[in-house]
Symmetry: C2
Subunit: 213 residues, 2 copies
């Protein structure tokens, strides 16, 4: 006697909150398995609904993935905010600026290592959707990752640690260094590197950015 693997689990014809349920399922799928793992039919299955029901709330798989990616990006921003909130105020503007920049980098890396699936999903291509640098606002400050990083860099300029001639576009330099380390460690040839070594490299990368910017 086979047990029906898909009990109705729901008596009402209407689901009630299907969009949110599909998005939640999609996020969970992305969490383990990354972007390729967010498969529309599985999301509907978890929501206890027939595959095509998804099309009432998303234009298609790509659209669902985009929604997942946006929340993943917000979580990246959130991780950066959280780390930023931990830097204690200092009398020295220089100390504060450096700590802030470091917090940005550490928050980014921590999230990448803690949630590699979501991190990869956050920075995934989706042919059309342009991801215009202003995506993924954090719940705390309401700023996106680019703005958070920019704020820290402004502090570096104010503190005299970064010549203002080099301020323009500095976001991309700092971002590249930290992003590269994240990618190489979670999906690149440095996977399986012991965590302690990765953390050490993270510190050194941030040192390099501070010094080389």
């Amino acid at each position: 006697m086979r047990i029906d693997p898909d009990p109705p689990a729901r008596s009402t014809y209407r689901h009630g909150d299907l969009r949110r349920a599909l998005l939640a399922a999609g996020i969970e799928l992305a969490r383990n398995g990354g972007p390729d793992a967010v498969v529309l039919r599985e999301a509907t299955r978890q929501a206890g609904v027939v595959p095509n029901a998804a099309y009432r709330h998303f234009a298609g798989r790509a659209d669902l993935l985009k929604a997942v990616r946006d929340t993943a990006l917000s979580q990246v921003a959130g991780a950066m905010e959280a780390e930023l909130a931990r830097v204690k105020p200092s009398r020295s503007a220089a100390v504060f600026a450096r700590a802030s920049l470091r917090a940005i980098g550490v928050g980014y890396l921590k999230f990448a290592l803690a949630e590699p699936g979501l991190f990869r999903t956050a920075f995934t291509v989706t042919e059309d959707s342009e991801l215009p640098l202003g995506s993924g606002r954090g719940v705390g400050t309401g700023k996106n990752p680019f703005q958070l990083l920019g704020g820290a860099l402004d502090l570096m300029v104010s503190a005299g640690l970064l010549p203002h001639q080099r301020r323009d576009g500095a976001e991309f330099l700092a971002w590249s260094a930290v992003h590269g380390l994240a990618m190489l460690t979670i999906e690149g040839p440095m996977r399986a590197m012991p965590r302690a070594m990765i953390d050490r490299l993270g510190d050194r990368v941030i040192d390099m950015v501070e010094k080389g910017l």
Copy 2:
């Protein structure tokens, strides 16, 4: 009247060089479309062969993708070698070392921008296959990207531009910075940035590495 879209195109029962043909098709698929675009059935179609024939030469799609990835990695190494070959010898060890390190970075970035699909494929996860840092030897020197970068860093130490205390693991720092820029520009939020600006950022990232290492 429909034309058969799949003419036999081959009279012999045996293909003769199917493995190479499948690999070539896979590379072409990866070139436009990245790792997800290398689909086994399409490769067999281009080789003029039935889908299952592929299983005589590859364990499955994952195995084919791995082969494509390995050649993509070799091409990365080749691009670095090519750029390295262009630095002209100098009486000053410092000048030569800096030029070499820059060539490594420029070669890497050039390839990423010229062949984004292959570049993404080169650094793609494949659950098991560990990609042990020693993959992808270039045809010229026979060295892999990691060794090429290491060589340039050794020159930096010899020239007195990099304290030997900081030599250990320096590959990962330099690599992270350049890799991050490549990723952000080809599949990240900096796509659609004008090429001139990207090139400028490439120079600045390499400056940052030189100075901050």
